[in-house]
């Protein structure tokens, strides 16, 4: 007996999961490196006004969220519409009411959400030490350094995820991503000094 498979629209969603993953990781990297860059800049310039730093980073995170959401939706929608038109020409029929039509309306939204939310969620995670700055300082920890540390953890985990996807050695993939973050920090520190 053939296994129960989700048919119709879900098949289109399953086929699009690679695209969603790619968008999420790409924009996730963007988000983490942007926030890491800002935090590093604040740290090396001896900027100690944490509420202002938090506001600036939150502004960047929200801008990345809106940019990710809208850019992925517009580009994916355009691609899907073109693909649907070509298929309609080949089949000589209107596909609006078919699974293809539904997928061309639904998938751009799904891709846009994964592209928009990945940098926002990662940025909010990195910024946690700034939200709890008072508690961390009471413990003798620097909120900025803790946030930079979390950014390195995120970058490493994104690298590990890429290693798992490409079925290569996860540790090497993680270290490679971490090196990219270190190079970013080194370049920023060079300009700050």
């Amino acid at each position: 007996m053939l296994p129960e498979k989700p048919i119709h629209l879900m098949l289109h969603v399953f086929r699009a999961r690679g695209i969603m993953r790619r968008y999420a990781i790409t924009n996730g990297f963007d988000g983490v490196l942007t926030i890491l860059g800002m935090l590093t800049g604040f740290y090396f310039s001896d900027f100690h006004d944490l509420p202002v730093a938090l506001s600036a980073c939150m502004g960047a995170a929200i801008a990345l969220f809106i940019s990710g959401l809208s850019s992925a939706y517009l580009s994916e929608k355009a691609e899907r519409t073109l693909e649907l038109k070509h298929l309609e020409q080949a089949l000589a029929r209107n596909l609006d009411s078919s699974d293809y039509g539904q997928a061309s309306r639904f998938l751009p939204l799904l891709v846009a959400f994964s592209n928009g939310f990945s940098p926002l969620i990662l940025s909010l995670f990195i910024l946690l030490p700034l939200f709890f700055a008072d508690n961390l300082m009471a413990l003798g920890l620097s909120p900025l350094l803790s946030a930079i540390g979390l950014a390195f953890v995120c970058i490493f985990l994104l690298g590990v995820l890429l290693g798992k996807i490409s079925q290569t050695f996860w540790l090497w993939a993680g270290i490679r991503a971490l090196l990219l973050a270190l190079v970013t920090v080194a370049i920023i520190s060079f300009f700050e000094i």
């Binding site: 053939l2 498979k5 048919i7 119709h8 098949l11 298929l87 089949l91 078919s98 293809y100």
Partner: protein
């Protein structure tokens, strides 16, 4: 009332869903449906298929609806077997 026992359809379908998923969706329409799908011609975006459906009481409307929902279109009904209610 007459019932459809066999349908042979000339169907132009996109490559996705593939032949197995397409046939499973058709077979799931009835408890005793038997479906045979043969790809007659392959194009860049489409494939011409000959689909044979056999069953005790085939619902043509449901078959058309599911085929169109999956993005395919029926070109022609190539063969049909109808039994009258007395023959059942």
């Amino acid at each position: 009332m007459a019932v459809i026992r066999k349908l042979v359809l000339d169907v132009l379908k996109p490559h996705q869903p593939n032949a197995i998923d397409f046939s499973v969706a058709l077979a799931d329409l009835g408890a005793d449906y038997r479906v045979n799908l043969m790809v007659a011609e392959m194009d860049e975006k489409t494939e011409t298929t000959v689909i044979t459906i056999e069953g005790n009481n085939i619902s043509y409307d449901q078959v058309v609806a599911i085929i169109e929902k999956m993005g395919a279109s029926i070109h022609s009904i190539d063969e049909v077997e109808i039994h009258s209610s007395e023959a059942l």
